[in-house]
Each structure stands twice: as C-alpha cells, then as structure tokens.
C-alpha cells in the first residue's frame, strides 16, 4: 500500500524524478565502471604475471631482491635438495640473475642478465628460441621494449660485459636470436635472457641459481634450505599498490557525482515536505501515524535508488556490456611506466561489485531521503492541514 503510494507520488513528479534518477544512475554507472576497470587491471596484471613470470610461485635465494641490482652478485647458490628435486622432475626451473653492461651500437647500458633453461614450459616465454645456437657465442632473447631502447634487431651482435663469481671482468659477443612481445615489462625492460647453462659458465656459477619458479598447483616444499617462498599475491603487490595509489582520485570523482545525486534527492525531499503540507496533514488526520508518513516520504526518496538501478541498466547497461565484451583500447603503452597493462583493458563486473555498489547507492539515497522526512514527525496535523510546516 505504502509502496504503491510512494511510487505513484514519485512518478507524478516527472521531470524532477527523472533528473534525480538520471544523476543517481550516472553515479551508479561511474562507480561500477571505474571499480570494474580497476578490478580488470589487477586481474590482468595477476594473470599476465602468473602466465609469463611466476606460474605457481617462486623460491628466492635469501639475498635476492629484484629491486636491488647491487645485491645480485651475492644472490646465488646451489639449490636446496627439495627444490632441486622439483627442477629434476621438470616441475620447476631455475633462473640465474646477474648485472651486466651491454654495448649496443657502442653505447654502454646497464642490463640485468638472466639465465633461463631454454626447454622450460612452465611460464609463457619464448625461451625455446635460445636453444640450438651452437654457432653463436651468447644467444640473447630480449623484449620489444628493450629492443626499442637499444635499437637492436634479430641477428644484431653486441658486446656484453659482466663480472664472474671471482669478481673478474669478462666480456663476449651476444647475438639477438629473438625479440619477444610480452605485456610483462618485468621480463622486458632492461633485461637480456640467455641460456642458463651459458650463464652459469660465464659467471663461474655452475649448478647455481638466484630463484626458482614452480608450476601451478604445487604445495610449498618442507625443506626450503633458507630460500624464501613467494606466492602470486606477494609478487603482484607492487602492481596492487600502484592501483591502490590511483584509486583515491577515482573515488573522489565518483563521490562528487554521488553527492550531486544525493543533493538533488535531498532537495526534492525538502521541497516535497514544504509543498505537500496539506497532504501530510490529511494523511495524519485520516489515521496514518507519523512514523508511517515519515516512512512514506523516505520510501519515495529511496525508490530513486531502485529507479536509478533500472535506469542504469537501460541507459548505461549497453555501454557496460560493450566495454565488458570488447575492452577499452588504451592509447599509450604503460609498460614503459612500469605497469602491466593490457593494450585493451577489460573491465570485470563481479556479483560482489554489483551488490556492493547497489548497497552503497541505496544507503546514501535512503539517508538523504530520511533526513528531511524526520521533520514530519514534529508536525501537528492541524498545522499541516493549514499548510504550516515546522521549520
């Protein structure tokens, strides 16, 4: 009964209701879209990192810190027995990391040199391209970004200089055998990949590695021998931090939109109570309690959220669906900025996101509808009938 009256009154307000619903629907859309976009970014980063870099996770040498190249020279040793056993069973593969200087075109550039087994198939990297180059001194795999920075092409030869385990300089010629197109900048920028055996010989670190990546679904080994297990959540935390740092800006934006919608509803409620004094008085006179009248007006306001949800579905639903299906093309390559970002960003709409957004918008709308309606509880029916409203 109350719902019917509320809906009738709301629809009767026509343009005012339409504008309120439209603004609320827009804020609804924006929150949904932005949050889905961030979720999509994170999901993509996780997926790409898992696919190309860490698979099920990794074991790091205790001294290894990927953000501190100065420590690379101490971050290597033979693998602990249990981890070595995973490698022997082809369930994991070792990587040996070292600093190097490269001289593409005669210019000196610092680089991170990583030795990887060419026959690994745990991560999606074209390491197979490193195999079968017996005629080449050092076969090198690089990413597109690195190729662009160094102006190297497949077949180009350049000097690599490194320090071996005894901290003695050594140098030789590397030949680019493949340029990979990867979305994971961590494999690309500043990196050169060479066969693991070659790296171990060059660095005089036979049978040694810096980290080991294992395939998905493997439990952590019992005896890690001091090596540190790193899971997917740890390895994408920098990406998460970047996204978290970017979120406040978006939150402020959609809070402003939501505040505009809330102000519209608040204003409409205040105006309704002033203009509909006689109606309130009549309702009270015919026996409706004050609480029910307050409930009626709150419901009227609250129905804005329901209509906004419907309007979002009608007006913005196709847009959300389109972007969800086709993604949003990004104009620039974010990998140079140190972000794993798809060329086409796919927003992800989860049930949790839709429910939480609906609850947020509904609660805001209910609050702004209830606050002006409280005034009704202080009104006398006789005053209301005469059109007098308590200030």
């Amino acid at each position: 009964m109350l719902f019917k009256i509320a809906l009738k009154n709301l629809l009767g307000a026509r343009l005012r209701t339409f504008l309120n619903v439209l603004v609320t629907a827009f804020s609804f859309f924006l929150i949904l879209f932005m949050s889905a976009m961030y979720d999509g970014m994170l999901q993509h980063a996780k997926q790409v990192t898992m696919d190309t870099e860490i698979a099920g996770g990794a074991y790091w040498h205790p001294e290894y810190d990927p953000l501190d190249p100065m420590k690379f020279e101490d971050a290597h040793s033979a693998l602990p027995a249990e981890i070595q056993s995973l490698v022997d069973q082809k369930k994991a593969f070792p990587v040996l990391v070292s600093q190097a200087s490269i001289y593409p075109g005669g210019r000196i550039m610092p680089a991170i040199m990583k030795g990887i087994p060419p026959d690994q198939n745990i991560v999606n990297m074209p390491t197979g391209a490193l195999a079968g180059h017996d005629d080449i001194s050092i076969p090198v795999l690089i990413g597109k970004g690195m190729a662009s920075d160094t102006k190297l092409k497949v077949g180009d030869v350049f000097t690599i200089r490194w320090l071996d385990a005894d901290r003695t300089y050594d140098a030789d010629e590397g030949t680019v055998v493949h340029i990979m197109d990867t979305e994971n900048f961590k494999l690309d920028m500043g990196h050169i990949w060479i066969p693991l055996k070659k790296a171990q010989t060059m660095l005089a670190m036979e049978q040694e590695a810096t980290y080991v990546t294992y395939e998905k679904g493997l439990p952590t080994v019992q005896d890690k021998g001091g090596w540190i297990p790193r899971d997917i959540n740890y390895l994408v935390q920098d990406m998460e931090a970047i996204i978290e740092a970017d979120k406040p800006g978006a939150i402020i934006m959609y809070m402003i939109i939501l505040a505009l919608a809330a102000m519209g509803i608040f204003n409409a409620q205040v105006l309704s109570i002033f203009r509909r004094g006689r109606e309130i008085g009549t309702l009270m006179a015919i026996g409706m309690t004050r609480q029910r009248v307050v409930g009626l007006f709150t419901l009227e306001g609250g129905l804005n959220a329901v209509l906004a949800a419907v309007a979002t579905l009608i007006f913005f639903g196709p847009i959300l669906w389109y972007f969800g299906a086709n993604g949003i093309p990004l104009p620039i390559d974010y990998s140079e900025m140190g972000m794993i970002m798809a060329k086409r960003l796919m927003p992800i709409y989860t049930i949790g996101l839709i429910v939480s957004t609906t609850v947020l918008v509904s609660v805001v709308v209910l609050i702004v509808s209830y606050i002006p309606s409280r005034r009704i509880s202080r009104m006398q029916p006789t005053d209301a009938l005469r059109g007098k409203v308590v200030a």
Binding site: M70, F72, R107, R161, L163, Y169, D170, A171
Partner: protein, 246 residues
C-alpha cells in the same frame, strides 16, 4: 774528448743495466716509480663525452696503498664532494645530500663521475708484483724510445682484469701504454701516459688517458697531474670519516 767518452760509457752502462734487468726487477722498478710512501697531488680529470667535455678538479692525499682521501674542487656542482678509501672500503660524501655513503660490491664497478674509470680502477693500486705474473714478450721502439712488452697474468683471484699487457719505457721504467683484458681475452680498457717528468728523483707521468675500448667512438678520460709531492707527512686525521663532512 774524455767527457764524450765518459758520456758514452755511462749511457752504455745505463742501457746495459736496463737490458740486464730481470722481469721481476722491471715490475719492481715500475711499482717504485708509481707508488710512494705518501703523495699529495692536485689533478684534473677531463671526461670527454660524445658532444662535450667536463673537467673535474681534485686534490688527493694518498698514503701507501691503503689510504686515500680525495676532495673535488671544481666544477661548482662537484665541489665539496669527498671520497675516502681505507683498505678495500670506499666512502663518498656529497654536500648536496650531506650524507656519507659507503660504496661496495657492484657499485665499485660503476664509473667515477661519468668517466672511463671505475671506482675499482681507482682503488686497485696494489703493487703489480703482488698481483701479476709477468712474462717478457719482446721489445719495440715507439716514438724513438725503446720499450719492453710485458704480459701480466693474474696470480691472485678477484682481480678486475685477469690479464694486462704493458709497454714499458726502458728508461723511465713506466708502463707508457697498458691494455686491460677480460677473462675471455677481449680488450676492455687501455691506458696511456705521457708528459713524463722527474719528480723528487723518480720519473712520473703528468697525464694519463683511460679509455673504455668497448665504447665506440670513445675519446676516453684524461687525468692531468698539475702538482705532485711525494713522501710528505700527512696527518692521520686526514683519513678519518669525520673529515668527509668537514
């Protein structure tokens, strides 16, 4: 006539002495020329880039092979930067950040002020006798002066350059040219010296040129010694870390 005879005899004696020197004697003489109990020097490092050159002036206090203190005097951007070397440790102080930083590990292989010299090149001044096994490869005349060609191969582990070849002037007993090789035998750097002068009874170069041979079109880095004083007394306090901030 007698004077001429004496001169010829003296010259022949000197020449004979040089030729009779053993490989060990040559290396020892070279070490003696280049190293001293202490030295105080003012120098300029001219770093030749692709487009322009930078000149960095500094004053150095060195005692033996374990202690060295450098203060950069110009350009204004580098003035006040100081470096202290004690044994195998190196600290730098930058007035801009007002911080003392220890340079260790891989950082020692980084270039000093963008030059062709690494911190390690600066620090590795232990006598060659201790580090390398020398083999005489022959003699050659360069610019009218006789030189020995000496191949030095590392006899200790952990040296940056496991092999070097030196062209040693038979009179000055100085490595006028040196080639520094990687383990694979690839030439990494060259250093040359000129402007040899007699300073306090020893021959000493007034200009060194270091060049990273892997860089294409590199003009190298010049190190010009403006003033040098050997075996002067240097206060122990000069080599304290507190001195870096003063």
């Amino acid at each position: 006539m007698i004077k001429i005879l004496i001169s010829i005899l003296s010259f022949a004696f000197l020449l004979g002495q040089s030729n009779d020197m053993s490989v060990q004697d040559i290396i020892r003489a070279m070490d003696n020329n280049l190293n001293a109990k202490s030295r105080i020097l003012t120098s300029k490092m001219i770093v030749h880039g692709r487009r322009s050159s930078r000149t960095i002036e500094s004053k150095n206090w060195v005692v033996g092979i374990d202690k060295a203190f450098t203060e950069y005097l110009s350009p204004p951007r580098e003035a006040g930067t100081k470096m202290l070397k004690l044994d195998d440790k190196l600290w730098t102080y930058s007035p801009q950040t007002d911080r003392v930083i220890q340079i260790s590990g891989h950082m020692l292989r980084q270039s000093v002020m963008g030059s062709d010299m690494s911190y390690n090149d600066m620090m590795e001044d232990r006598p060659l006798m201790e580090l390398y096994e020398a083999t005489l490869e022959g003699s050659v005349e360069i610019d009218g002066r006789d030189h020995w060609i000496m191949l030095l191969t590392a006899k200790v582990k952990g040296l940056s350059y496991p092999m070097r070849r030196a062209w040693i002037d038979k009179e000055y007993l100085l490595p006028m040219k040196e080639e520094l090789y990687a383990k694979s035998g690839k030439l990494l750097k060259t250093s040359t010296m000129d402007g040899i002068k007699k300073v306090q009874g020893r021959w000493f170069p007034t200009r060194f040129i270091f060049k990273d041979e892997l860089k294409r079109n590199s003009k190298g880095t010049e190190w010009v010694i403006d003033e040098i004083e050997f075996d002067s007394e240097i206060a122990e306090s000069r080599f304290s870390k507190a001195r870096l901030r003063k």
